[in-house]
Symmetry: C2
Subunit: 205 residues, 2 copies
């Protein structure tokens, strides 16, 4: 399975790294997660430089394509040269966004005729594409999903992992980040070790 | 205010980036957040390379010092050359950890005689330092705090921001990452804009 996370300059740090970290906890054969961009590296909104593992065109062959959020979405949603590199097929590929990443899904025409969610400060911009917004953390229609609010990545990534691996992986991985005493317990230690077996590290990029 | 986040090789990605992102949403004068390490850059457990903003010795002058987690803590908790570079003062500095970062607090002698929390898979190692572990997301004694489970960073960072900025900042920042419809709402857009004013970006590193 190939999962592509698409970034750009001025992305929101936690909206890349929460999904990246969760997706990298899956330990199944040929599970590959890549950060894609149009450059060798991109700079987050706080100034962190992150190397990409490949170019955005690779997203067109991925099983799942996820768009991060950030101030950069305002520029990317109007960048025709960038947008035209994507040829995503929502019949075959899972496509999702967190927060203002929904603006890119809209610009790619992937939200036509369906409802979506986004970050509160991006609601007006999303509606300007003619998309009806709804105040929910996660909205999925077939293989296209939007999530709003950084921690709603849990719903989005749970959906991807459940569909591309299975529910036992998504349940365990979402459990693994909960606060101790509030969803995660000391007695879970043995189960959690499934996620940290270094043996299968080579499968991640 | 100077906040230091201490990293090392094989750190857990989200345990750096959730706190980094939240701390960078504070918009008060002279608020400075730095990622410190013993090298120019460190590699996360998933292979992400992150440049540091300074060396670990700078932590000794910070108002708050936060230790991230990850497989690397097992090596660092025994690395005498590394540990001896810290001269932290828990009477003056706020010192905290997420997940297995507690092992470093223990190795530095900062958990002597107090209870602490940690990640389930680090409980035995923490207890080997003679520390009594309790199954809670966040345990603070004076200016020393431990948090367990990635998302318990919310408690840890809320505590730091409330103490070094004020409660209105911690409340707004913790709200800003909640899922839409579950703690964050479309009507919050105007309040949230306080966190995204680019004017004060220069205060972050």
């Amino acid at each position: 399975m190939k999962i592509a996370i698409v970034i750009f300059d001025k992305f929101t740090d936690v909206d890349l790294f929460l999904m990246w970290d969760l997706l990298n906890r899956v330990r199944v054969e040929n599970w590959e997660v890549k950060i894609l961009g149009e450059k060798e590296s991109h700079i987050s909104v706080t100034g962190i430089s992150i190397k990409t593992h490949g170019r955005i065109e690779e997203a067109n062959d991925a099983n799942a394509v996820l768009f991060v959020s950030g101030q950069g979405t305002r520029e990317k949603m109007r960048d025709e040269n960038w947008l035209k590199k994507f040829a995503l097929n929502p019949e075959k590929q899972f496509v999702g966004s967190i927060c203002s990443g929904s603006l890119i899904l809209a610009a790619l025409g992937l939200l036509e005729g369906i409802t979506a969610t986004t970050y509160p400060t991006s609601k007006t911009a999303l509606e300007s594409f003619g998309v009806e917004t709804i105040e929910k953390p996660f909205v999925a229609h077939g293989k296209v999903a939007t999530a709003g609010g950084c921690l709603a990545q849990q719903y989005l990534i749970g959906w991807v992992i459940e569909n591309l691996a299975d529910k036992s992986w998504s349940d365990l991985i979402l459990k693994s980040i909960q606060p101790v005493g509030e969803g995660l317990f000391f007695d879970d230690a043995e189960n959690l070790s499934r996620l940290y077996t270094p043996v299968i590290k080579a499968q991640t990029v």
